[in-house]
């Protein structure tokens, strides 16, 4: 009879991380849908007077509300990168260490390019993020920053609150509203690309490893082999 690995339930994603994840996901979906509508609104109405509807105004309002959610979640996550557990810590994201590079090569070779593992090494199993993923999240964070800076920059001109006003310099910095909107629009596509890959790889790992990858973002727990946990190494 084959011997089954002993798995331990490990608390990986603390509540703030999960709140961030879903607030971020939800706001990005809302921001992308409303963003596409702002960028290219359908002209499905005619014979109406301007006082009959306000839908474009509402789409923009939803965009701006979701923008605050997106920004708020981002700030929460930055805070948690210092206050959270080791899986949430900013150090866990930095891929440019010997360990990080080694892990990226491993993930590329065996997860992405599907090469068979001759001598599986227990340390190649990531409990939290793998370093390939954190590299993608750093990119995602940078595009999120571009969204926040250009978005609030465009917004600031009509804002009365000091917070968006802080970004008033952005459009002139990038050469005007044209460029700001172009950056805003193009960065959205990059975020969409990253999300497509992200969702696929989560499902792929969930299928391949069977240790609760997808559900971990709801429950917070992943399942890790006892030997790996005993290593007591992130």
């Amino acid at each position: 009879m084959a011997h089954t690995k002993n798995y331990k339930r490990v608390y990986v994603w603390q509540l703030p991380v999960r709140i961030f994840h879903w607030a971020n996901a939800l706001s990005i979906v809302v921001l992308s849908i409303t963003g596409f509508l702002i960028s290219n609104p359908p002209a499905f109405m005619s014979n109406a007077e301007a006082f009959d509807t306000f839908w474009m105004g509402q789409v923009r309002a939803i965009h701006f509300i979701a923008a605050y959610v997106f920004f708020g979640a981002m700030i929460l996550r930055i805070y948690w990168a210092f206050a959270g557990n080791k899986f949430a810590h900013w150090k866990a994201f930095w891929p440019f260490s010997k360990k990080g590079i080694k892990n990226i090569i491993h993930v590329l070779k065996h997860d992405i390019f599907l090469l068979p593992e001759k001598n599986p090494n227990i340390n190649d199993i990531s409990i939290g993020h793998n370093y390939m993923a954190t590299t993608a999240y750093i990119l995602m964070f940078l595009f999120g920053l571009i969204m926040v800076f250009t978005g609030f920059g465009l917004y600031s001109d009509n804002a009365t609150w000091w917070l968006p006003k802080l970004f008033a310099w952005v459009p002139s910095f990038v050469g005007g509203d044209f460029n700001a909107r172009m950056l805003h629009h193009v960065s959205m596509w990059f975020i969409i690309f990253i999300i497509i890959i992200h969702v696929y790889l989560v499902l792929y790992h969930d299928w391949l490893e069977g240790r609760g990858e997808a559900s971990s973002m709801f429950s917070g727990f992943k399942f890790v082999r006892k030997e790996r946990v005993d290593e007591n190494d992130e």
Binding site: V59, I112, D157, G176, V186, L208
Partner: protein, 374 residues
Amino acid sequence: MATQKKRDTYLQAIIKQGYSRRDFMKFTTYMAAYMGLQNSAIGQITEALETTPRLPVIWEHYQECTCCSESFIRSDHPIVADIILDKISLDYTETLMAAAGEQAEAAKHDTMKKYHGEYILCVEGSIPTKDDGNYCCIAGKTAIQHFKEAAEGAKAIIAWGSCASNGCVQSAAPNPTGATPIHKFVHNKPLIRVPGCPPIGEVMAGVIVHVVAFGKLPELDRMNRPKAFYAKRVHDSCYRRAYYDAGLFAENFDDENAKKGYCLYKVGCKGPMTYNSCGTIKWNNGVSYPIQSGHGCIGCSEDDFWDNGPLYERLTALPGFGIESTADSVGKAVAGALAVGIGVHAIAGTIAKRKDVKRRVTKGQENEEHLKDE
């Protein structure tokens, strides 16, 4: 100063022109209103124009079409054209001066010498830099030489219009003459950019009256544009804005919705990205402005507006991807490629990892068996 004594004040010049004091007062009131100043400023402008001797102005023309001058001489109040431009010691301007040839060049150099450090340099047009600047030569010298010479003794420099402010059409890709806006050449002088193709005449008048009346530049934004005129987007003062917010758009210039006066966003209006006063001051003495006449804003006062996508479509142009590509078409193509890649990876993964997965699944099933045993 001897030279200053000989110069009339603005008021004296205006009266000499045959205007009454009442006309003059109306003029200063207009100007204060355009500049967005409060009532008390009318008195300040009036006093300044009564007492300050006229400032010498040198107005240079380089790579341009003279639409800025045309716009300026049509500004709302005749005094603007008559006094500020034509009669107020406009010591040198190719378009309007009576002198020509060597005589004109001599007059210019005279002014530059006599009023060194005092005159205002107005520049209309961009400066070509490719091939030693050969693409714009006046009186045997290139625009670069002319500009450097004139800028040297200027008190302040005004960049009229999009050509001087951002290069306008002649700097559109591939910019064959290397057309360059003038702020790239000056670094240690006060400089005002007054973009627009052309700028609104009243805006130009407001800027120059501010400079001559107060002896200093108006309040400028981060891009050196006078805040009084460039602080708001055309979109934010557009009378069609209610249609935008209501989501009522014209899709064609001759459809029913266009006739109803719906918002022109979908036919390429660039008002949402363009800072200018068209929606408030308007054109041709406040008669109308492009959007009111049924044409979208083309963003003429924004940097590189020629290279920012088609004028009659609402598209996000992608620099470096050719004119047919937009951010969305490239985005869709990449997303499609990703989907195909994922499909291939999923199939290949199912094959490559089938043993691993099978092993795990088998073990899991065995565990399940054990559960039954217990």
